[in-house]
């Protein structure tokens, strides 16, 4: 064997490994038989991993972690190879399901295959308030599993008084101690709600603003940012909770789960207020991708969707992460099996449910639309806010 032998063999090895790799790549993904679910951590309840969800739904679930960013999921599902990789995915209703359905990335659902669909919240039925958040052109394309009205978390221990208005978030007394989410969807909608209700800006519909309305909102934020009002913009639950629990910030617009984690971390008195101007309400939905349908994973999907609409899931998510259940009958379920939660968890759950009703009752609420009509304006202006 001589030098040329070595080089030819070495080149063969190179080509061999390239073929093996692509083979390995596809082989490995095929070998995972379970439902390939692209979802964030908040889509599971119970145990640290997905074992409880799998037990309830009777299918095996392979989750791939998903971040909250809307444009990332659009890029993955439409331009990227999302359909080849994922059978089902979650995202914000009232916007994302229209975008994905319009691009044929997700398919219409046959709700007859979801027994628990009967106890879904009435507002989701035909003509209901949030009916269109799970439909695209009248056809049901998504199943809601959690929803909430996002509000302001504040450090009651330090501040000493209950905050009931978004004014506090932008007030100079919290200069350098305020934070908002690093995503244009929730942040711009929340600010727009405040500007509209407080009369400081002429904004018609905070969840689908015109270019000029986006400019007003962003310039308001840029002005504050230049004055050093915002300590930072948080990304993800751990970051958001860390800011509050370490008293890095005293007020922060965030998800309720962040307020719960922050309060639980060091036992400080961190609360989630009810804002008089209104809240940005949203829901998270689970969808069946076209690829999932083609690979015949729809049966497994329907079983999972059934669990998401079961009172068991509703009770668990309310107790654990503090999200609003999407179905009725949760209270009866909790009474039916008293040993599931200890006494004070039940008490917390009912108090949370009460406050959620109070928040949902506020007139100014408006939906968070992650896929507004002129999304380009949102993105360009948001880049300016980030760069300010």
């Amino acid at each position: 064997m001589n030098q040329t032998e070595f080089n030819r063999r070495q080149i063969m090895a190179l080509l061999g490994s390239v073929a093996a790799m692509s083979g390995a790549g596809t082989m490995a993904s095929a070998q995972q038989t379970g439902l390939k679910l692209w979802a964030p951590g908040i889509a599971k309840v119970g145990a640290q991993d997905w074992s409880d969800m799998e037990a309830q739904s009777g299918i095996s679930i392979n989750t791939i972690a998903k971040s909250a960013r809307a444009d990332e999921s659009i890029q993955k599902m439409v331009v990227g190879d999302g359909n080849a990789l994922y059978d089902a995915m979650t995202d914000n209703g009232g916007g994302m399901e229209d975008a994905l359905a319009s691009q044929g990335a997700i398919v219409e659902l046959d709700i007859s295959k979801i027994p628990n669909w009967s106890n879904i919240l009435p507002s989701y039925n035909e003509g209901g308030l949030s009916a269109d958040t799970i439909r695209h052109e009248g056809k049901i394309v998504a199943v809601p599993y959690i929803s909430n009205a996002d509000s302001l978390a504040f450090n009651h221990g330090v501040i000493g008084e209950e905050l009931t208005s978004w004014e506090a978030l932008f007030d100079s007394q919290f200069r350098g101690r305020a934070a908002m989410q690093n995503d244009f969807g929730p942040t711009l909608t929340n600010t727009a709600i405040y500007l509209k209700q407080s009369g400081k800006g002429s904004i018609d519909n905070p969840s689908d603003m015109t270019e000029d309305e986006v400019r007003q909102t962003c310039e308001f934020l840029i002005g504050l940012k230049k004055k050093g009002h915002f300590r930072t913009f948080w990304d993800g639950v751990q970051n958001g909770a860390g800011l509050l629990s370490s008293e890095e910030v005293l007020v922060s617009s965030c998800w309720e789960v962040i307020q719960i984690f922050a309060a639980r971390k060091n036992g400080q008195d961190i609360r989630y207020g009810t804002m008089k101007e209104g809240h940005q309400s949203w829901n998270n939905v689970v969808m069946l991708t076209r690829g999932g349908m083609e690979r015949g994973m729809d049966a497994a999907f329907y079983q999972l969707a059934n669990v998401y609409l079961s009172p068991w899931f509703g009770a668990q998510t309310l107790a654990g992460l503090g999200f609003t259940p999407q179905m009725g009958g949760v209270q009866e379920y909790v009474d039916a099996n008293p040993d599931m939660f200890d006494a004070d968890t039940k008490q917390i759950m009912s108090k949370r449910l009460e406050r959620k009703q109070a928040r949902r009752a506020v007139a100014g609420n408006s939906w968070q639309n992650v896929f507004p009509t002129n999304i380009r304006a949102y993105q360009d202006w948001w880049a300016r806010v980030q760069a300010a």
Binding site: F6, M21, G25, P40, Q48, I64, A65
Partner: protein, 294 residues
């Protein structure tokens, strides 16, 4: 270090050096510290626990990610190291040394995000052209060759790691005398035998440390992999997506602590091993030299 140098100043410099290494190591030590804390990241009270280390191997997501990362590390090393070896041999024999050096060391100077996004767009376009080509020719053989997948991640990581292994191998080759290859050829060995019997055993240390270095680099790399990988998750992308979502789980800290502990042990043993060998060699040499003098 001659005899007249002020011994105190010398020790001061040594302490400064070790202090700098320690400050650079604080994140590593901090991660290990957290991995034993029951109530995790950022909590005030500290409760020692080994629970998370137990959880590592039951956490399906983490193990799956680990498997992908190991596969990626092995494949990248198997391709990058022979390439670095060939490139080093070419560099040694080339008369125009500027071109190979520039081409092989330039990836060091390209920031990760820039390299990642440039390759991402390039591969997407390449894939689109291949698909278009496939449609023209009416066959779909290479439709999915360059879609973002294991292959694109491997190519990106090869480009990232080859400068490091190229330099490491070049350093060990610096000490090799080419006359020995010629002597082997004069003894009747052909090109390959001369390389395998004579040159390789002497640069083996460099090649192995280049392999270890590449595996560690691939293991800890996040930016380029996250931009170029397909549907699978590697070790770092799982950690990050957890960080950006519900927060790094206890076992994630445990896993990264374990990985860095293993890597440090590997590098540490190389240091100790070379120290011991140098010690024994010099002692043997001294022993041999003794009789002549007496």
């Amino acid at each position: 270090m001659n005899d007249y140098e002020n011994i105190l100043l010398h020790r001061l410099k040594w302490t400064y050096l070790l202090l700098v290494v320690l400050t650079l190591m604080t994140p590593v030590i901090y991660v290990m510290y957290i991995s034993f804390n029951a109530n995790g990241f950022g909590a005030n009270e500290y409760a020692f626990t080994l629970e998370f280390y137990g959880l590592i191997f039951s956490d399906e997501l983490l193990i799956g990610a680990l498997r992908w990362t190991l596969m990626l590390a092995v494949v990248v090393t198997l391709i990058a190291i022979p390439m670095a070896l060939l490139a080093a041999k070419y560099y040694k024999a080339a008369d125009n040394k500027l071109f190979p050096v520039f081409l092989l060391l330039a990836p060091l100077f390209v920031p990760p995000d820039i390299l990642g996004s440039a390759l991402l767009v390039f591969f997407k376009n390449l894939n689109l052209t291949f698909v278009w080509l496939g449609d023209q020719l009416g066959m779909s053989l290479f439709d999915s060759w360059f879609r973002l997948s294991f292959l694109t991640a491997t190519i990106g990581l090869i480009i990232y790691t080859i400068p490091y292994s190229f330099v490491v191998i070049l350093i060990t080759m610096g000490r090799y005398h080419p006359e020995q290859t010629e002597a082997a050829r004069a003894c009747g060995a052909n090109g390959w035998r001369a390389f395998w019997d004579i040159e390789f055993p002497q640069i083996r240390a460099g090649v192995f440390s280049a392999c270890a270095f590449t595996v560690i680099l691939v293991f800890n790399e996040y930016t380029r992999t996250s931009l170029l990988k397909g549907g699978f998750d590697t070790f770092t992308t799982v950690l990050i997506s957890q960080m950006l979502n519900t927060g790094m789980s206890g076992q994630s800290y445990a896993m990264s602590a374990l990985v860095s502990f293993v890597a440090i042990a590997a590098i540490g043993s190389i240091i100790i091993f070379t120290m011991l060998r140098a010690e024994t060699l010099s002692r043997v040499a001294r022993a041999k030299a003794e009789p002549v003098m007496s």
